[in-house]
Amino acid sequence: MKQKTIQSIILEFEPKSENILPALKKTNAIFGFVGEKEAKIIAEYFDVSESKIFETTSFYDEIKTEKQPEILIQICNSANCTVNNSFSIISEVENLLKIKAGSSASSKFKLEEISCLGRCADGPVMVVNGKIYERVTKSSVHGILGEYI
């Protein structure tokens, strides 16, 4: 069933090399990551090697090569958000969920520090499973995570 869907995704794209990245993005959006199986099918379709697919996939932050945890929390730690105390929010989340930023030890949660999303006027910025929250504070972080846990 899954195989059928991946094929229907890539059929939307003309088999030209410049369409590889859009196809990977789309696959990632639907499956949550681009696994070996999908990579193989995409490589065949575009007539390139699987390593080429992995090469491109592994480079971009938005495309994942592994299954992602249930709840992915991303907090911007670029200079502007840092000035607005994003580090205190990172440690608040670390304490709350008993995880470390950047570690994949928990299968349920993952906390990532990310770069600027261009919302610097409304920092600190936090992203949970793709949903963006602005002006996050140490107290509001509890309510936000409460929606997911």
Partner: protein, 431 residues
């Protein structure tokens, strides 16, 4: 010229960005009509050259020169010596490309996003004129993968403009043809660098390429390509309508025009302000952003994003320019135009980790000095915070900063240590 002249933000908030009629009502697409019916491409490029417009992405390369280079190059490898290895098997022959760089992931910078939010047709008009002036048949808009809303706005604008025949086949009944496509990035800071951006559109890893050949000779799919920043392009309609000489009289002599400045941090009114170039930092903070936020004490300001220099209070009279050191007055490289005001309540160790972590994450890994250098700087920054800094670290910092500055492949690495170095030399950080 007054300080109030607005080239880019004149109609922000006054017209509906989702209606092309609103833009046409205020004189929109008149520049395109002028270009098509009254000018030829050489004249348009000459006007842009006369205007002295420089790339607003940060490097400040003269836009007119760039367009002229592409315009002069015959498509796909005829009049130059470099042997081109086509990166794609289906390299289209006889093409030139124009790319609008909307990647914008410089920390503290969101001017391009607001251009699209408030007046997408201004950008589109600029793209069409620029692309036609170099005789490109296809223009790409490379947009940051996070800018989903902006992508939708642009899609609406593009389809409206097509209905009005501002692009497509036989634009406004002339012989000009142009295709426009939006290409969405996938989250990589380095893709704002033009050769990396080109690699990304070709679906390769977004790593920078060696130059020469420059993209103006062999860019996208091996064809001559002009890559320009969104803000730069948005100036083009004004230049075509009002003439390059008038533009050249605005602001600083060596980098004329107005610029969007993004003020953030400990200022009373953070936001985006359009001001003539050559304005000094203090004026921007005091007159535009309402001064320092109440209860905060100014410490230093970082100019131009993550790779920007730090200015202390006494240096705030520095003028914002692209060519630094040419005039008699103190000036500072304005980069993307962002100004981050840091007050004394900020933990400098956190900020140090923020800078170094950013470059560690965003280093593409192609060259060793940058990949290792940014990583080691980050480690040292962490030890600094934890109070575990050793004498060896102190000497290592010097070595790493020198190596980054002198040996990296592309500008990302070169500027990765700028803020760190300034923090040390300006005694913001005490070793």
């Amino acid at each position: 010229m007054t300080d109030n002249l607005k080239v880019l933000t004149k109609y922000w908030g006054k017209i509906n960005p989702l209606r092309i009629e609103d833009y046409i009502c205020v004189g929109g697409y008149m520049a395109l009509e002028k270009f098509i019916f009254k000018m030829n491409p050489e004249e348009a490029i000459l006007e842009i050259k006369k205007s002295g417009l420089r790339g607003r992405g940060g490097a400040g390369f003269p836009t007119g020169d760039k367009l002229e280079m592409v315009a002069r190059n015959s498509p796909c490898g005829v009049n130059f010596d470099y042997k081109i290895i086509p990166t794609s098997r289906d390299t289209p022959q006889g093409k030139k490309y124009f790319i609008c760089n909307l990647e914008e992931s410089e920390p503290g910078t969101y001017k391009d996003r607001l251009i699209v939010d408030n007046n997408p047709h201004l950008l589109l008009e600029g793209i069409i004129i620029s692309a036609l002036s170099i005789e490109a048949k296809k223009a790409y808009i490379y947009i940051n993968g996070n800018y989903e809303k902006q992508k939708e706005i642009l899609e609406i604008a593009i389809s409206q403009a097509k209905e009005k025949k501002y692009w497509g086949e036989n634009i406004l009944g002339s012989n000009y043809n142009l295709e426009i496509e939006i290409y969405s990035g996938a989250g990589a800071y380095i893709c704002g660098e033009e050769t990396a951006l080109i690699n990304s559109i070709e679906s390769n890893r977004g790593e920078p390429k060696i130059r020469p050949p420059f993209p103006t000779e062999a860019g996208l799919f091996g064809c001559p390509t002009a890559v320009s920043n969104t803000e730069t392009i948005s100036n083009i309609p004004w230049i075509i309508s009002n003439g390059g000489e008038r533009f050249a009289r605005i602001g600083s002599k060596n980098s004329p025009g107005t610029k969007l400045f993004i003020l953030s941090g400990a200022v009373a009114k953070p936001g985006i302000y359009e001001a003539p170039t050559g304005i000094n930092v203090r004026k921007l903070i005091d007159q535009y952003a309402g001064g320092i936020k109440k209860g905060k004490e100014f410490w230093f300001a970082q100019i131009g994003g993550a790779c920007g220099k730090l200015l202390l209070e006494k240096e705030l009279k520095a003028k914002m320019e692209f060519c630094v050191g040419t005039g008699r007055d103190l000036s500072v490289q304005m980069g993307s135009g962002s100004i981050l005001v840091v007050d004394k309540s900020v933990n400098i160790h956190d900020l140090l980790i923020s800078w170094t972590d950013f470059f560690r994450r965003e280093s593409c890994g192609k060259c060793v000095p940058c990949r290792e250098g940014t990583f080691r700087l980050w480690e040292i920054a962490k030890r600094f915070r934890d109070g575990k800094i050793s004498d060896r670290d102190k000497t290592a910092v010097e070595d790493i900063l020198w190596t980054l500055d002198n040996t990296t492949f592309c500008p990302l690495g070169k500027f990765a240590g700028t803020a760190f170095r300034d923090a040390i030399t300006k005694n913001i950080l005490t070793f």
